[in-house]
Each structure stands twice: as structure tokens, then as C-alpha cells.
């Protein structure tokens, strides 16, 4: 049993390698075996060239805040104590964007274009969530 009361990712055969990697504190994305393009979310074929083959490749974990919001209204009881909390979208240097939270940065200091890097939060024994922090210079 765990005290973590927030929603957990729905792990499926398609996305299991992503969550297995985060459990090891690695960020990995599918890379097309034909055109080498990274893709996210996990998908059975490359959206650019429709090739089936892909490998799960480690990415830098570095990127740029492409947009963000701050929640003031409570929608989930489990987030009530976090209000106001941020949610960011981060464009990874490899291309795809991830949704996550920015940690250790006051909401008022978040800007579009801010450089960030991934950190991992072991929220349960089975699940580690990637979040981001301000990139070290």
C-alpha cells in the first residue's frame, strides 16, 4: 500500500518501456529505425515515415519550457494542498514535448523559453515521474 493519492500513469504495452526507463531514472523515447526521428507519445509506427521499427533511445532530458499554466481551481481533491501549482510543457532538445511540473521554481518566475532539465520523483515503489527543474548553467 502507498500513501500516494494522486492519479498514476496508465501503463500499457505501448508505453511500458518509457515508465521502465523512468524507474531507472532515465528518460527514453522511441526513435524511428528508418528516419531516426524521435516520437512521443509512444506509437506503433513513425508518424513521419510510417516505418514499424523503433528503438527506445535515451534522450538528454534537457529542453525548453514551451508553455505553462498555474492551477488555481481545485479539480482533483488529491491536488488541493498544492494549489496554486504549475504544469509545464517542455520541448525536449530531441523534439517531442512532455507535460510535467517544474519543481523548485516559484510560479511567478516561470517563463516560456526557460531552459530546464529532467529530475525523477519516485512517487511509489513502482512509478517514478519525470519532472523538470531549472537547468544548471
Amino acid at each position: 500500500m502507498t500513501a500516494y493519492g494522486k492519479p498514476l500513469p496508465r501503463i500499457t504495452p505501448d508505453n511500458r518501456p518509457f515508465w521502465d526507463a523512468t524507474r531507472r531514472h532515465q528518460l527514453a523515447l522511441q526513435r524511428c529505425a528508418e528516419c531516426a526521428r524521435f516520437r512521443y507519445p509512444p506509437a506503433p509506427v513513425c508518424p513521419a515515415c510510417l516505418a514499424d521499427g523503433a528503438e527506445w533511445a535515451a534522450v538528454s532530458g534537457r529542453g525548453t519550457v514551451s508553455t505553462f499554466v498555474v492551477f488555481h481551481q481545485r479539480y482533483f481533491p488529491s491536488f488541493a494542498n498544492d494549489i496554486p501549482y504549475n504544469v509545464v510543457q517542455v520541448q525536449l532538445d530531441e523534439g517531442p514535448r512532455l507535460t510535467a511540473n517544474l519543481v523548485d521554481v516559484p510560479n511567478a518566475e516561470i517563463t516560456v523559453g526557460m531552459r530546464v532539465e529532467v529530475v525523477f520523483d519516485d512517487v511509489t515503489p513502482e512509478v517514478s515521474l519525470p519532472r523538470f527543474r531549472r537547468a544548471k548553467a
Partner: protein
């Protein structure tokens, strides 16, 4: 060889229920009232209705099978989409296509909806769509607390603010304009004046969206009857012809709540300028943007108004914030929008209240808020579908 649907179909009747923020009636009761009112409005017999299309079904609204059963309709063309407001335009288009191709003689577009009784679906733990793998239907991701449709519009407008230097105070021009329209509409729920100060002082829902950037949570129903142009000419009122249509967009260039290319979620980032193909609705209708006497859009959140203006080329990319100032989208302005008050101030009947308003405007039935000499009006959304109507 292309065929056209231009002017082959028309709206013969519309009906609306009372709009309310108190849950006094079931969606079925509201829809039944609106349906009977549409029949009376158009001078249409119930037995003429052989098509039924719906975009808001259970649990928010009424499903096609139950409605046909409850109203004793013998339906030979039924169509119901995923329960989302985004399908209001496509649902109306399916009605017109069914009539134009002879699959039905008269199609009732029915929307009876109670957002009040199902409030928990609007972003709470009951919103199971938000848990869609790697992205909800408006970019939700409850794992990170990103829930509710408002968040999708907030993500987009935050990036828009950063790219173009636009501000929340400029965005306020949208809800302020629509509130002025609602003040002239006895059916509207929110009719008290809204000032810039009220807007800026209102609480944030999902920052940067303030409370008044978000539509009403309300109950109501609207019914629109689509039939052949010939049948509509024999109706009780002036027919409102469906002159042109283009479908909803999807794919790598798109995010539901953004101009193409803004770069939200996995949406490709590029500098959008509308192509002929993006504006095909005007070609089908044989008009241009300059002929549009009023524009109607799905204003669930005020940024969607900016995005639709840019998508359809009423202004350039990044220009909508400045373009919507100084009364330009108000009655009497260059391009009145959502003249009933829209989802922001009239009611959230999934956009069907705005379709009903278009019909009433084109028949010159709108009293104090009538657009003088209106002949051509357009429905268009941030996600790219559009339908043009004329009297």
C-alpha cells in the same frame, strides 16, 4: 469532378428551451420542449422528421435512440458523435449532407444538455477521458494535475502571450463584448455589465485564464431542423440556406484549442498563413470574409475567439489581440461576433444556441441586437470547421 452542396439545404425551423444555471429539468425534457418549439417555428409536422443527429449524448445529454423513442420519431438517418462540443459544426454538416444526398428529408439536430448535473465530468476524477494515454482530449494529463478543458486553452494563450506580447487585459475585450450582446438578449443568463476591472479582478481558474474567460456551466436545449431548400421555401418562416461548409481539421499541424502551428502538445510549430484549402468554405459559398455580416464561434474560452479570427484570415497571425479591441467584434463594429452572448454569457448549449442565433438574425427577428441588413453569416471554430449561411 466535384459536386457542391451550396444552397441545396436550408434550416426551416429552430427552437430553444429556457437556459438556466439551476438544474430544474432533465436534458430530455429540455430537448423535447426545444423540439416542439422548432416544429412550430418552421411549420413542420413531426412525421416529416426522418433524420436525427446529436453531438452531446449521455451522460451530459440525450442520446439518439432515447430521443427518437420518447418523441415517437421514425428515423432513417441517425448519427451521434463523441460527446464533445467540438462536433457541433460537423453534426450540422452531417444533417445537411444527409438531406442533400437523399438519405433523409428533414433532419433534427438535437442538443439537450445539463452541465450542472454532471459538473464532475468537467475536469474532476469522473472525467475518464482525461486519462487517455499520453494526453486527454484537451491535452489533459491528470498525473501532473493538468485537468479540465480550460487547461488546454490556458496552455495555448500563455504561449500566444509570450510569442506576440499580448495580455490578459486585451483578452478581456472578448468576454466584455459578448456580455454587451447578452444584455440585449432576454434569454441570456449573464446580462449584468462586465468591465475590464471586473475581468482582471476575477479569480484565476487556470492561470492565465480568469473566471470570465471561461464559459457558463448551464443547462439548456436547442433544436435546428435542416431540410431541402425547396421544402424550406414552403416553411412558416424565411429559409436560411446552407451555402458552404468545410470540415474539422486534425493532424500534426493541429491542437484543438490553437491556431495551426502554435506548438502545443505535439503540434508542429510553424508560421501559419491561411491557404486556399484552409479557406475553402468561402469558395463553396461564393463569398469572402468581407461579405460576412457576423461571425459565430465556439467560445468555451475567450482565447478561442482570437484563434478562429487568425485561422480564417480575418486578421494576421499574432494580430488578433489588437484586432479585437475598440468594439470591433461588438454589435455595430466591423465584425460582430456571437451576438446572443455565446457560451460565455448566453448559455452553454454546446454552440447550438449560436446556430439558433444565426438563423434568427438572418430572419431579422433579433430586436435590439439585430445586425442591420444581415444577409451572410458564418459559423467557424478554432479547430477549423466552418459553415456559411445566407438568407
Amino acid at each position: 469532378m466535384t459536386t457542391t452542396i451550396r444552397d441545396r439545404t436550408a434550416i426551416v425551423g429552430v427552437g430553444t428551451s429556457r437556459f438556466s444555471r439551476a438544474p430544474t429539468d432533465t436534458p430530455m425534457r429540455l430537448a423535447a420542449q426545444a423540439f416542439k418549439s422548432a416544429l412550430a417555428d418552421g411549420g413542420v409536422d413531426r412525421n416529416e422528421v426522418d433524420g436525427l443527429v446529436i453531438n452531446i449524448g449521455w451522460p451530459l445529454g440525450v442520446d439518439y435512440d432515447r430521443f427518437a423513442e420518447a418523441l415517437g420519431l421514425r428515423i432513417r438517418f441517425a448519427d451521434q458523435s463523441w460527446t464533445h462540443g467540438r462536433f457541433v459544426g460537423p453534426t450540422l454538416q452531417h444533417a445537411a449532407m444527409a438531406v442533400a444526398t437523399g438519405l433523409a428529408h428533414c433532419v433534427a439536430c438535437v442538443c439537450g444538455v445539463s452541465f450542472i448535473q454532471e459538473r464532475g465530468l468537467l475536469g474532476g476524477p469522473g472525467d475518464f477521458e482525461g486519462t487517455r494515454e499520453e494526453g486527454g482530449t484537451h491535452e489533459e494529463n491528470p498525473v501532473y494535475g493538468l485537468t479540465a478543458p480550460a487547461a488546454g486553452a490556458a496552455l495555448s494563450v500563455q504561449r500566444y502571450f509570450a510569442l506576440y506580447g499580448a495580455t490578459s487585459a486585451e483578452l478581456a475585450a472578448v468576454p466584455i463584448a459578448f456580455r454587451k450582446h447578452a444584455a440585449l438578449n432576454p434569454a441570456a443568463i449573464m446580462r449584468a455589465p462586465l468591465t475590464l476591472e471586473d475581468h482582471q479582478a476575477s479569480r484565476f481558474v487556470v492561470e492565465p485564464l480568469h473566471l470570465f474567460d471561461c464559459c457558463l456551466v448551464s443547462d439548456g436545449a436547442a433544436v435546428v431542423l435542416v431540410t431541402t431548400a425547396d421544402r424550406a421555401r414552403d416553411g412558416a418562416r424565411k429559409p436560411v440556406f446552407i451555402a458552404g461548409m468545410q470540415g474539422m481539421r486534425a493532424g500534426p499541424d493541429e491542437f484543438l484549442f490553437a491556431t495551426p502551428g502554435l506548438g502545443i502538445g505535439q503540434q508542429r510549430e510553424f508560421r501559419y498563413a491561411p491557404t486556399q484549402e484552409q479557406l475553402s468554405v468561402y469558395r463553396m459559398a461564393g463569398v469572402t470574409q468581407k461579405d460576412i455580416d457576423a461571425l459565430y464561434t465556439y467560445d468555451a474560452f475567450s482565447p478561442l475567439v482570437w484563434f478562429v479570427l487568425e485561422r480564417f484570415g480575418f486578421c494576421g497571425l499574432g494580430e488578433a489581440a489588437a484586432w479585437t479591441q475598440k468594439g470591433r467584434i461588438e454589435l455595430g463594429g466591423e465584425l460582430p461576433m456571437n451576438t446572443s452572448g455565446g457560451l460565455l454569457s448566453e448559455a452553454h448549449v454546446s454552440g447550438w444556441n449560436s446556430i439558433a442565433e444565426i438563423v434568427r438574425q438572418l430572419r431579422a427577428e433579433c430586436g435590439e441586437r439585430q445586425v442591420r441588413g444581415a444577409r451572410v453569416m458564418q459559423w467557424a471554430t478554432a479547430w477549423g470547421d466552418s459553415t456559411i449561411f445566407h438568407s
